[in-house]
Symmetry: C2
Subunit: 281 residues, 2 copies
């Protein structure tokens, strides 16, 4: 397994692999791997001959008051885990090489980023699409694998790929959960014991909404109210949003009459956690 830090070097290697007829998979990450990342990496391994995992905590997708500095990092552990999964290259560029002083180009998906997390984290998705466009040009993958846990990110990136004609396929993988239902996230690391317990309300609320839906409830506000009740029962939780949106356009739905995503963001202590459930109808 190679560790590549220079974008130009990575690009040269990828171009050579493509010319050799190899299929390249890319798993873009911010590191601090958990089973969610590993499931993406395994899918990348299945799909391609040459598997690149990028590891870069991307400063421009964090707001000024967000957790860029405290975001958990453990490069040595990530390296061991990647090696075990048969990763060919960890691409771990420096901030300087990715964003030199004169850097000033941004990629923006304009509509899909207006709702949900986009509303609460202005500039976040612009930072995401910009880094992902750069990674696509550097690594030149045939497949790029993303988790459904970040559902809006997934939809936004698919749109960028379609709109800008990137010649690659976005593969999405299901959210991986702890045994008790908590969606895996590097940010779970921020939770103390009590907060960890409180955080369980997120997946419980989604489960409850799902079962109400399957009992015939189609009015979004009723599902949302019920979820809010469940989450607010624990005083450590502060709901940021609970919304039910069209699964493709991410516009709010009053009545669930088409495929939808039930999405929520909750502050639990320092941690801002998100989770979601897609209902295909």
């Amino acid at each position: 397994m190679d560790i590549i830090k220079n974008p130009k070097e990575m690009q040269k290697i990828s171009e050579r692999k493509r010319n050799e007829g190899k299929i390249i998979s890319l798993v873009p990450t911010m590191g601090f791997f958990h089973e969610g990342h590993l499931s993406l990496i395994r899918e990348g391994r299945n799909l391609g001959d040459f598997l690149v995992v990028s590891l870069f905590v991307n400063p421009i997708q964090f707001g000024p008051k967000e957790d860029f500095n405290s975001y958990p990092r453990d490069f040595e552990r990530d390296k061991r885990l990647a090696y075990k999964e048969g990763v060919d290259v960890i691409f771990a560029p420096s901030i300087d090489l990715m964003y030199p002083e004169s850097f000033q180009t941004k990629v923006e998906v304009e509509n899909l980023t207006k709702n949900l997390c986009g509303k609460k984290r202005p500039g976040h998705f612009k930072g995401v699409t910009t880094i992902v466009a750069k990674l696509f040009n550097i690594v030149k993958p045939h497949f790029a694998i993303f988790g459904q846990k970040d559902y809006q990110q997934l939809i936004v990136i698919k749109k960028m790929v379609e709109d800008l004609n990137f010649d690659l396929e976005i593969i999405s993988m299901p959210t991986i959960r702890e045994e008790d239902g908590l969606a895996m996230s590097s940010r779970n690391n921020y939770l103390n014991h009590e907060e960890r317990e409180a955080a369980l309300c997120l997946s419980r609320a989604l489960k409850e909404a799902e079962s109400l839906f399957y009992s015939g409830e189609r009015i979004s506000s009723r599902l949302i109210n019920r979820m809010e009740e469940i989450i607010n029962k624990n005083k450590l939780n502060k709901v940021e949003y609970i919304q039910i949106c069209d699964a493709n356009t991410l516009e709010d739905l009053d009545i669930i009459d088409r495929p939808c995503v039930i999405a929520l963001a909750v502050k639990v202590g320092k941690a801002r956690l998100i989770d979601n459930l897609v209902i295909k109808n």
Copy 2:
């Protein structure tokens, strides 16, 4: 010579050519070829094994009151000229395929687009960088050739390529002029006989500024005033801007103490004409 209208088909052909080890050149145009375009096409022919000329009047780079509808078009003539120059493919996609209804992704170079034409044509360069990013992903060129006549466009595209890590080289070619000095432009087509005469002031003013510079003048305002005088002498001309800017950052220079561009935009009748001169020092 093939005429390709479908982006996916173009992309497949380009990918195949790359896999065969061919070097691809791209000349992006809006058609209505003149000697300026042909000089870019000839350079593309020199540099690559496989020469693609894109021909697309890009709606999103025109403002609502600009000349998208009246922009001159003559596909049959362009086809003949391209064929004579040994072009392999004319890529002439439809607007529907480039911008389907749900299209919403934009690429923006944030600082270099604030001055000069960017100030007068809000959104113009965002439209340019977005279409060029799309063309790069569709045609996958090793070289893309642009004219210096659109100097700010050239600098903006170079920045986008650097910032987003496009794996290709931007080649710039000198402005081609009529015998009397008028910079070639598809928009010269809008000029009647008198306006054509008035438009000569643009290149004359630049020549005069150049000769003042070489006689030792370094104060930008003096050069600008002299150019303004020359252009305003003809009542058909309406100066939009005359500026002297750092050749790399495009910031205004009071004193010419480094490489600069003298750039101007003038309305002559219906035609908005631009011209420039780079002084390397």
